[in-house]
């Protein structure tokens, strides 16, 4: 099947609507959350209309169907990320919960064996992380006395690996980093860093929130111990995320949340726990949302991830060309389409990002403005805030041209060009 963006767009009903008094929607905020294809929306409706029941505990036909749909989604997700064992796929609420699950479980392991963590131990992150891959580790360090350290970023928006040998050392217990920066688009050499970390005896967690939507979260090639991503950025519903972890680690790790369906046996004074993944899925899960994520995976697989990535690279090249010629515009991060994904953050001289996005919004162009939950990164780059345009399979050259024209209009409006 050849990739045709016109046909893809027909799958996304929202792209037909107008905004701000009749302007066609130009949605360039997919790194924030993606739009949903009809196939996913229909799956959610069908689940609630035809199969809704609780899973694993309902002893009737609907319960069987719901359980099958939920566990079927787990298998689809496992295949999507190249995991041979669907028991390594834990459903969570989002990436933040996936990362917190690891952080709290390690903290709960009470400092023994391979999860020991205390004074003198180190956790290494990077300066280009989303807050969700910073704050949980700050909190874990506060609880355990471990020290938080981090890779810096170079002025052109790549990880500064010059201190890697010093940063990753025998005291390092865990390295957590993003696969693809949500601000810069930079794709990091995760496999190399994971190899270094493993050689030092450390665990590795990868935040794949921005790479999974493009089919890049292959757990075999990432070489990590944990990989987290979220459904809503990859055509799926909100409220459903994924933590993949190596089975031998998941088996050893204590639970994060206690509650229904995560147990093996409960007495009044103690409990034993179900094997993974159920050990980490306490209470009634977002069942329909997991099933919807399964449908999103089916959709992306059917369109073809290679084709999606090729289309996004084409959009990225077009956007870099269209934006770099705008006087007073400075792109944060790599300006060449090499090892970078389809998110471009930039400054427009003399116009605050909030004002830039307001002008764009008035023309129907939806972008994000602010620090994009990456305040330390903006500080490191000496930028207070930025405007971000991000692309996905349904975007077109015309939409990028509308962005560029909108930016020129903003310059005229504020009298800066």
């Amino acid at each position: 099947m050849t990739f045709e963006v016109g046909r893809i767009r027909k799958d996304f009903p929202i792209l037909d609507r107008t905004v701000r008094g009749g302007r066609p929607l130009v949605y360039l905020d997919s790194a924030n959350t993606s739009q949903k294809p009809r196939q996913v929306i229909d799956t959610l409706t069908d689940f609630y209309e035809r199969h809704n029941a609780n899973i694993h505990r309902a002893t009737h036909e609907l319960g069987e169907e719901a359980t099958e749909a939920y566990e079927g989604a787990r298998i689809k997700v496992a295949q999507f990320i190249g995991a041979g064992d669907e028991g390594e796929v834990i459903f969570t609420k989002n990436v933040s919960e996936a990362i917190n699950l690891v952080a709290y479980s390690i903290g709960n392991a009470a400092g023994s064996g391979r999860f020991r963590l205390g004074e003198g131990d180190e956790i290494v992150i990077t300066e280009m992380e989303h807050h969700s891959n910073i704050v949980p580790w700050q909190l874990l360090c506060e609880r355990t006395g471990a020290t938080l350290r981090w890779f810096g970023v170079t002025p052109d928006g790549r990880l500064d690996l010059s201190r890697a040998d010093e940063l990753i050392n025998p005291r390092t217990r865990l390295v957590a980093l993003t696969h693809q920066s949500n601000v810069l688009g930079t794709i990091n050499p995760v496999a190399d860093i994971a190899a270094r970390a493993h050689a030092a005896g450390a665990l590795v967690l990868v935040d794949a929130a921005q790479s999974a939507p493009h089919g890049l979260a292959d757990v075999r090639s990432l070489g990590a111990d944990f990989v987290g991503f979220t459904g809503h950025k990859m055509c799926g519903p909100t409220g459903i995320g994924v933590l993949w972890g190596r089975r031998e680690l998941l088996e050893e790790m204590p639970p994060f949340l206690g509650g229904g369906e995560m147990i093996e046996t409960v007495w009044m004074d103690r409990s034993t726990f179900a094997p993974p993944p159920h050990k980490f899925e306490a209470g009634t899960m977002p069942i329909a949302q997991a099933v919807g994520l399964g449908a999103a995976v089916d959709y992306l697989t059917e369109v073809g991830l290679e084709a999606v990535r090729a289309h996004e690279q084409d959009l990225l090249r077009h956007a870099l060309a269209a934006l770099t010629v705008i006087e007073g515009l400075r792109i944060l991060g790599p300006t060449e389409p090499v090892d970078r994904g389809g998110a471009i953050s930039f400054e427009l001289n003399g116009i605050h990002p909030h004002d830039v996005s307001q002008v764009l919004d008035d023309r129907g162009v939806a972008v994000r403005a602010g620090h994009h939950c990456a305040w330390p990164l903006h500080r490191a780059l000496g930028v207070q805030a930025s405007t971000r345009a991000s692309f996905y399979l349904y975007n077109t050259h015309d939409e990028i041209d509308a962005l560029a024209e909108g930016l020129r209009h903003a310059q005229r409006f504020f009298g800066t060009a």
Partner: protein, 159 residues
Amino acid sequence: MQLESMYQEIILEHYRRPLHAGLREPFDAEVRHVNPTCGDEVTLRVTLKDAGSEPTVADVSYDALGCSISQASTSIMADMIIGKTVAEAMAVGDEFLALMQSRGEGEPDEDVLGDAVAFEGVSKYPARIKCALLGWMAWKDATARALTGRQADEPTIGE
């Protein structure tokens, strides 16, 4: 085109040439407020004096990083409340807050709000209301601190 209704000329004017900007000595209280969604920030100082028995705004000085709306709002606020009694200035602040929460349905009283009526258009955009209120919130906080501080030294001042 709704853009002009939000970015009225007087707002752009204050954004380009903010009044009373820069931090000045002496001051009774200093606060730093941020807008966590965008990282905009303002450091604001308040100096009060006694006019009769009423605490009065002698000076408001500030150092702000932010969008046109937050910068202009802080500038207009400072220009409007310097010289007013704290009670009068608080009343303006309350009226401005009500306007911002009106979702475009408010009927601003120009006699009370002065140039700040220009922000009426902002109230239609929920994401920008915090921008318009950043300076006001900082001023209210700083003033409350200044009054408390003065109460300790001069128990007759304040309420």
